[in-house]
Structure formats: structure tokens, C-alpha cells
């Protein structure tokens, strides 16, 4: 699971408000090459929640050199954009879990696939 997907995810728990993000507990990550696409990246920067993205990037040790807020993102600065691209698209969490910040429910990630299934009693 890459950080872009993580940023778009919300906790499926009934008690959680749908805006909240899940915390990453990473046990294993791999870095994979992804084509740099400036057009798509600009589009996604508008859409992602910046604070959550920075926090997640820090927890995976790829947060160095990222601007602190969305306003500081300079789309003409290619070096900075490449860094954002790397953190957002190229770091794949293979093993670990996602933790719902409100209920503490853990969603395990195995082989890069987060398991968001709920049990019968959680519906």
C-alpha cells in the first residue's frame, strides 16, 4: 500500500468520523520505481490531506525535505516535487497494520494488501 492510497483511506468503523485518518504501524516496506507524472501529482496534492501525509511520511522515514504545508508546495521546483512523488507513490508498505485513531481497531496489512474487512459485530 502506497501513501497516496493511505491518505485516501478512512476508518470503516461505525464510531469513527469518516474524515479521520488511520495511523500506520510499519514492519516492512519496499521502494519501487514509479513513473514521475507531474500532471497527476499536482492534481493529487490538491486532494490529499497534507498533515496526515507528512505524519505518515515521517513514520516511514521518508519525510525529509517535504514542505510543511500545502501552501509551501512549489510546482516549479522539480527537486521538491520529485521528493513528494517519492514519498507519495514509491514507498510501499508490505507488512504492518493500520490503526483507527478513534477506536484503536487494527487492520492488518499482509503482502501489501490492507485488510479492511469488518467482523459481524462491528457492522
Amino acid at each position: 500500500m502506497i501513501l497516496l492510497t493511505h491518505n485516501m483511506l478512512a476508518s470503516p468503523m461505525k464510531e469513527a468520523s469518516k474524515q479521520l485518518h488511520l495511523k500506520i504501524e510499519c514492519e516492512e516496506k519496499v521502494e519501487k520505481e514509479q513513473e514521475y507524472n507531474a500532471d497527476f501529482l499536482n492534481r493529487m496534492i490538491e486532494r490529499i490531506d497534507w498533515n496526515s501525509f507528512c505524519a505518515a511520511a515521517q513514520s516511514l522515514d521518508v519525510g525529509n525535505g517535504l514542505p510543511e504545508s500545502k501552501e509551501q508546495v512549489d510546482s516549479s521546483n522539480e527537486e521538491q516535487m520529485k521528493k513528494i512523488h517519492h514519498a507519495l507513490m514509491e514507498v510501499d508498505v508490505v507488512k504492518g497494520s493500520l490503526v483507527c485513531t478513534e477506536t484503536g481497531r487494527k487492520f492488518p496489512i499482509a503482502a501489501g494488501i490492507p485488510n479492511m474487512l469488518l467482523n459481524q459485530d462491528e457492522l
Binding site: M1, S11, F40, R43, L118, L123
Partner: protein, 278 residues
């Protein structure tokens, strides 16, 4: 026709073996690819580089088409085995294990569009004693509406079992605020007939949703024609109109085209006699 949703719940039906079939069978690949291409055409995204959700992505066959069309996608599926196959094949998109009947776990306004190939008929079955198909459908459509951007489109290809099921699913979508409706490609053909639920989540400023045109509906063949006594007198012995051999061939070709069969184009040689043989 056998219906897999009558055999077992999706997480069990799409097992390791079934997942392998999807990865290797060229026939399944071909069907899935052509369905996805038609769905992307109906989705009519304004530009490339869109962020698209694929519901019931399975082994990622539909995702490959999305990547080819220049979009970035996220897939979700209930079968772990199918998702593992997609990871083995190193598809471009990210995948999530999720039951669509429990709702999609995404933030509001995330996706530009959504495609789903042969998946939502699974929602119409009660897999456990506690699940209620109607409630699962409502949860699914509510969360789908929420995760699409304003004016986003969803194209869901599926195999309805009977008219009641069609009515149920469409009415659930409308109840959750979606516009649009059901589109049937090749309605006169049994084999080529395909159902697409094309629905819109609201409207952007200045955006007008035009209803797409179904394939294979060019001529209205199933309408009764008016005829009067004088016309009948011009007909031949068997009560049919006298038409030339060429016209008969052309009509037949047109009929088969409407059924979605591969028919050679008309030319000046159509229905001509072959020359004398030596």
C-alpha cells in the same frame, strides 16, 4: 447459464484455483478486457491522469486497461486469493481487501470515477443469516456516492438475474442520490447483451450529463409495422414482401450486425453470383 453467486460466497468462490483461471485463460481475459474498455468509454473522463476506483478488481485485468487508458487506479475486492494474484502480476494500482456491502472505506470526494466489472450482482445475495441484501446495497451506494467527486460518474457492469433484481439495484442507487440509469448494449441478442449501470453523483458547475447511447440499437426491429389492404396485394405467395436477393442478404447482414456478430462490410460484390467455373 450457471451463476457463480449461487455456488458459494465470493470470498470462497474466487479461490486460488479460480484466481489462476483468470490469470491464464485467454477467453476470460478477452471478455474482461472488452467489458472494461466499454466501461471506460462510458465513463467519459474529461482527461487522462484521473484517479479511478475499481470495485471487484480481482486479479487486476480491468486495472490493466485503466493503466493503458492513462489513469491511476485503486482496486478493492473481497477475495484475498484474487488480490494476491494481482500482486504477483505486479499491476500498477494499489489493492485493498474490502467487502463492498460493508461500505467503501474512503474519504469523501476521493475519486474522479469508478468502474466495476461483473461484481455488483454478488450484493443481491444473502451470504449469511444476518446479512440483508437491501441494506448492503444501500450502504454500498451511499459510500460510493460519498467517495466520488462532485459530478463523478460510476459505470458498473453486471449480470442481473431477473427484472426484480434490476429494479432493486437501480432503485437503491436512485435512493442514495445518484442520477442516471441502466444501459443495455445489444438488447436484441441473447449472448452479446450486456448491462451497464451508468450513474452520476451530482453535477459540477456547467456540467451536463448526456445519456450515452447503447450499442446495437440502430434500427427498431421489434416494432409492429402498419400495413393496409393495398400493400398486402403487392406481396408474394407466402405473405412476405417481394424483395430482391440482394436486399435479403443485406437485411440479414444488418440483423446480425445488431446482434453484435462479426459481419463483413457491404460492397458492390455483396450477393453477386460468383463467375462460371471452368
Amino acid at each position: 447459464m450457471s451463476r457463480p453467486e449461487h455456488v458459494a460466497p465470493p470470498e470462497l468462490f474466487y479461490s486460488r484455483d479460480e484466481a489462476k483461471k483468470y490469470a491464464t485463460s485467454s477467453r476470460m481475459r478477452e471478455i474482461q478486457t472488452s467489458l472494461t474498455e466499454r466501461a471506460i468509454e462510458l465513463l467519459a473522463l474529461p482527461d487522462e491522469n484521473s484517479y479511478v476506483l475499481d470495485i471487484g478488481c480481482g486479479s487486476g485485468l480491468s486495472g490493466e486497461c485503466l493503466t493503458e487508458a492513462g489513469h491511476v487506479w485503486v482496486g478493492c475486492d473481497i477475495s484475498k486469493d484474487m488480490l494476491e494474484v494481482s500482486k504477483e502480476q505486479e499491476v500498477e494500482g494499489d489493492v485493498i481487501l474490502n467487502d463492498m456491502g460493508q461500505g467503501l472505506p474512503f474519504r469523501p470526494g476521493t475519486f474522479d470515477g469508478c468502474v466495476s466489472i461483473s461484481a455488483i450482482q454478488w450484493l443481491c445475495n444473502a451470504e449469511t443469516s444476518t446479512s440483508n441484501p437491501y441494506r448492503r446495497l444501500l450502504t454500498f451506494f451511499t459510500s460510493l456516492y460519498r467517495s466520488l467527486v462532485q459530478g463523478g460518474r460510476a459505470v458498473l457492469q453486471w449480470y442481473p438475474e431477473n427484472p426484480q433484481q434490476m429494479e432493486l439495484v437501480t432503485s437503491c442507487a436512485m435512493r442514495c442520490g445518484f442520477g442516471g440509469g441502466l444501459l443495455v448494449d445489444y438488447p436484441h441478442s441473447t449472448r452479446a447483451k450486456k448491462y451497464f449501470l451508468v450513474i452520476y453523483a451530482g453535477q459540477r458547475d456547467g456540467q451536463i450529463h448526456k445519456a450515452p447511447k447503447a450499442l446495437g440499437t440502430e434500427d427498431a426491429q421489434n416494432e409492429a409495422r402498419f400495413e393496409n389492404k393495398r400493400d398486402r396485394a403487392h406481396k408474394g405467395k407466402r405473405g412476405r414482401e417481394d424483395i430482391s436477393k440482394k436486399e435479403w442478404v443485406k437485411n440479414k447482414k444488418q440483423r446480425q450486425r445488431a446482434q453484435g456478430k462479426a459481419v463483413p462490410e457491404d460492397s458492390k460484390y455483396t450477393a453477386r453470383r460468383r463467375g462460371p467455373k471452368f
